[in-house]
């Protein structure tokens, strides 16, 4: 761990648009502060590029507190830089060695087309949510909040699943570019709660099918997704989703299946 400012070499993916060829561009960086976050290090580079009249590196970021899910890049082939349970905005430069070479790339998945440089289009996640990632309750229809007790362990498990920030690291880390950890987290969150019980079959079918349609791959149980997840969503949530899907596929009539979402 370095405590004084240091130098390193960045290799950054540059690509003008979805249909254009990309390439790696090399930037020598001096005076990197160990207290900076990774994104602040990129900010510094971009400031220099802009002052030199060059286009800065496009990347997404917003809250910089590890909760909004905007940021996410591959650093040396590891989603969010590989620090356990941490989004890239919370990775600090002190975790890299002076003089190292860092290869910075966008999420790589067919379902996440590249818009510019390190910015990808993650609208496919929204489409999966639209297919069934909700409980069908209109504003005003809700019963008294205390009327349905939920066993604490189940509520805690639901919260574990709900912690997913939708960043897409799971997809990027998976050799199949599968979104099953993401879908598993959403399905698990709802099915663990009594409020989500009513629509469990339709939801599981619709969300899994929407993931297929979006072009995500299937799961082959490598576990890379969970290892890369900044919120440490665990594999059992995915297993629960597979059980839900199987149960629904075997027991539900074609009518329910055809209806998809709500």
């Amino acid at each position: 761990m370095s405590t004084t400012n240091f130098s390193l070499t960045l290799h950054v993916w540059r690509q003008r648009g979805p249909a254009e060829r990309g390439h790696m561009e090399v930037f020598e960086r001096a005076d990197v502060s160990p207290d900076q976050s990774f994104l602040e290090m990129l900010d510094d580079l971009n400031e220099e590029l802009v002052r030199a009249g060059k286009e800065p590196i496009a990347f997404e970021h917003d809250c910089r507190e590890g909760i909004c899910g905007c940021c996410g890049l591959m650093v040396n082939g590891r989603a969010h830089g590989g620090e356990r349970g941490t989004t890239l905005c919370q990775v600090h430069m002190r975790s890299f060695s002076p003089g190292s070479h860092l290869y910075v790339e966008p999420w790589r998945a067919r379902a996440f087309p590249i818009l510019r440089d390190l910015v990808v289009d993650r609208a496919a996640f929204d489409r999966i949510q639209q297919a069934g990632g909700y409980i069908s309750v209109n504003t005003g229809q809700a019963p008294e909040a205390g009327s349905i007790p939920v066993p604490k362990p189940r509520a805690d498990q639901a919260m574990d699943a709900a912690a997913c920030i939708g960043c897409g690291a799971c997809v990027a880390a998976c050799k199949n570019a599968s979104a099953m950890l993401f879908v598993g987290a959403r399905v698990s969150h709802f099915v663990l709660l009594p409020q989500g019980e009513v629509e469990r079959a339709r939801r599981a079918l619709a969300m899994v099918e929407a993931a297929d349609r979006a072009g995500f791959g299937n799961c082959t149980n490598e576990g890379e997704c969970s290892a890369a997840c900044p919120k440490q969503i665990e594999m059992p949530h995915m297993a629960r989703m597979f059980r839900e899907y199987l149960r629904a596929a075997l027991t539900e009539s074609t009518r329910v299946r055809k209806d998809g979402g709500a």
Binding site: E40, E47, R64, E65, C68, G146, K152, M159
Partner: protein, 637 residues
């Protein structure tokens, strides 16, 4: 500008019910004939868009991020208040109302706050039904905690990410309406102007952030839910893309801006590490329950904290406020920290920090107990600072966090531009001069789920049926204005980035219009801001093209608006010669240097009217009357 809050007559408990009955209704079959634009997908925007979609309106919902789930509401950690009284400890709608008016230092509108307290319980019901995984007790019922110094336990929470979970609830309801074809979601769009025709809001002009194209969108009403303006200070706890631009565009089109100087500064943030920092991180103020705040008595004391004996430590909060000690409210704690740092007693590399020390608590309760309570916060601190707070005291410093000021709205949440409604942090109405902890989420969702669905109908029902479409000259004029502004900024081709100028603006505001303010420094700021604006328009540079994905252009346009808005903020601060809520006006203090509010002269909301470029804005007043909560001076001695 006419300010009519249109607060319904009658006893405060009955106002909202009676008003809902008085509002005109729209036949269910006719609702689909109305188009409503909702800008923003945070708690207020997403809940409004979903609820209006459910009612049958055609809704167009805009956000700047790639997904509606990313709005900055997600960053709220602590919780959401409601007057459920599940803990049987004396809470009620009346008490939540009372606490919120008092906590706001008597600068909020009573009728709005009462309605907020009434609606708080419905919010919890709605969120639970949507599957929000609130914390529960072993019996399976909902858990509550006391938060932000409240005397009752009325805060509902979902681990450290209540905002995220509430937003996912609203977002899932919104996704359901998108699936049903009721809401059209326009992501990666930034509203750049409001279109006003015939004296009412009829649409917006937005920039497609992927293609750079300017797009016109017409509607029968526009609902603005675009959050606060803390980033005018450059460093704040707000997300990087938070901006004042949409609200500022509305202001220039005739919407009054109320109390822009009411900003909230949170005492327990991780301090600034250097001049290359992009933002500040908040830690829950619950830390002050066990941590002791101190600085060395000797300026610049070089010894590590643990080597400084107790006698040489200044526990300034405990000394000054013996009865509340480290638990004084946010504003008092923040001001005191800045004061000791200004006196040269700050700690750390930058000397802009004070210690928050857990050594005594660890010795008293054991490390396990402290870890159980604050483990995740200690971890976060260590990750950012590379220091173990179990071994060495944390360093903290205040940071701008929330803005109570915003566009003026009446009881129906309509601005001074008919047809423009403003919800959530973007409006001004409910928190007065200081917001209580766990109240922001409550207000955003109350506005979106339970107020706008009624009041919007009342407005639309009396609207003439002639629609203004996007070919109208008003749209062309707005689009041309935006195009000219973008061209102008692209053509400067100077030497500085927008961030360089934004940092100067931020530092200027922090030093001259921060927590402690006086007329001399505010006057200086009023001189310096136009000079900075001048510098911007002569020396900023934006590479790339305007008709393209260009993040630098997005940022630069936002900074241009901050540079205009900052002047209004300072002007408002200068006119308000009283210490109130978050800020201390040096000319208005008691004999023992505590804040002195001036109800004689300032029991009003100051509402600013734009008069055109280069002309000073006009200041109007909405007088505030307190029939139910009698104003008193706060004292924490």
């Amino acid at each position: 500008m006419k300010l009519d809050a249109r607060v319904p007559a009658g006893p405060i408990e009955e106002k909202w019910d009676k008003h809902r009955f008085a509002l005109k209704l729209i036949n269910p079959a006719n609702k689909r004939k109305y188009t409503v634009i909702v800008v923003g997908t945070g708690l207020a925007g997403a809940s409004a868009a979903a609820s209006l979609g459910e009612l049958g309106y055609r809704v167009k919902n805009f956000c700047i991020q790639d997904s509606a789930r990313r709005a900055h509401s997600i960053a709220a950690q602590g919780g959401i208040n409601a007057a459920k009284n599940y803990t049987n400890d004396g809470d009620s709608v009346w008490r939540l109302f009372y606490d919120t008016v008092k906590g706001g230092d008597y600068r909020a509108r009573e009728a709005n706050v009462y309605r907020l307290a009434q609606l708080s319980n419905h919010i919890i019901d709605q969120c639970v039904a949507q599957g929000v995984p609130f914390a529960r007790e072993y019996g399976g019922l909902l858990a509550n905690r006391s938060f932000g110094g409240a005397q009752v336990s009325r805060t509902f929470y979902a681990r450290g990410q209540t905002g995220q979970q509430l937003l996912l609830g609203a977002y899932s309801a919104l996704m359901r309406q998108v699936h049903a074809g009721k809401v059209e979601l326009e992501t990666r769009r930034e509203m750049l102007d409001l279109v006003v025709e015939g004296g009412r809001a009829v649409g917006i002009v937005a920039r497609n952030l992927v293609t750079g194209a300017l797009e016109r969108h017409a509607a029968d009403a526009v609902v603005l839910a675009t959050g606060g303006y803390s980033r005018v200070y450059y460093l704040s706890t707000n997300a990087m893309n938070c901006a004042v631009s949409a609200a500022w565009a509305c202001h220039k089109r005739g919407a009054g801006f109320a109390n822009p100087c009411f900003t909230q500064i949170h005492p327990t943030c991780i301090p600034v590490h250097g001049d290359r920092q992009s933002k500040l991180t908040l830690m829950s103020e619950s830390l002050r329950n066990d941590g002791r705040v101190w600085v060395p008595r000797k300026p610049g004391d070089p010894r590590p904290a643990k080597d400084i004996p107790a006698a040489e430590r200044l526990y300034y909060l405990e000394e000054r406020y013996p009865s509340f000690g480290n638990l004084v409210p946010r504003d008092v704690a923040s001001r005191a920290a800045k004061k000791v740092c200004d006196e040269g007693l700050g700690v750390g590399k930058t000397k802009l920090a004070v210690y928050l020390d857990f050594a005594d608590a660890i010795q008293r309760d054991g490390r396990d107990k402290i870890e159980e309570k604050y483990g995740n916060l200690f971890q976060m601190y260590e990750k950012i600072n590379a220091e173990d707070p179990y071994q060495v005291p944390m360093r903290i410093f205040p940071a701008v966090h929330y803005t109570m000021g915003g566009l003026w709205v009446d009881y129906d949440l309509m601005s001074t531009v008919p047809g423009l409604f403003v919800l959530g942090e973007a409006n001004f109405s409910d928190h007065g001069a200081n917001r209580l902890g766990a109240s922001a989420l409550m207000q955003g969702l109350a506005d979106g789920y339970f107020v706008i669905p009624y009041t919007l109908g009342g407005y639309l029902a009396q609207l003439p049926r002639a629609r203004v479409d996007v070919e109208h000259g008003a749209f062309a004029e707005a689009e041309q204005g935006i195009r000219a502004k973008i061209d102008r900024v692209m053509k400067v081709k100077g030497k500085q980035t927008c961030d360089q100028i934004h940092k100067k603006l931020g530092l200027l505001l922090w030093n001259k219009c921060g927590m402690g303010r006086n007329a001399a420094r505010l006057g200086e700021a009023l001189q310096e801001i136009p000079r900075l604006r001048e510098e911007f328009w002569h020396d900023v540079t934006v590479p790339g093209r305007a008709d393209d994905l260009n993040q630098q252009l997005e940022k630069t346009l936002r900074v241009a608006d901050f540079l205009e808005f900052a002047e209004l903020l300072v002007r408002d601060a200068l006119e308000r010669v009283e210490s109130c809520g978050g800020h201390f006006r040096e000319e208005s203090q008691t004999e023992d240097n505590e804040a002195r509010r001036d109800d004689e002269r300032f029991a009003h909301a100051a509402v600013w009217e734009h008069q055109g470029e280069g002309k000073p804005p006009l200041r109007h007043q909405e007088e505030l009357t307190f029939e139910h909560v009698k104003p008193s001076q706060r004292s924490y001695k």
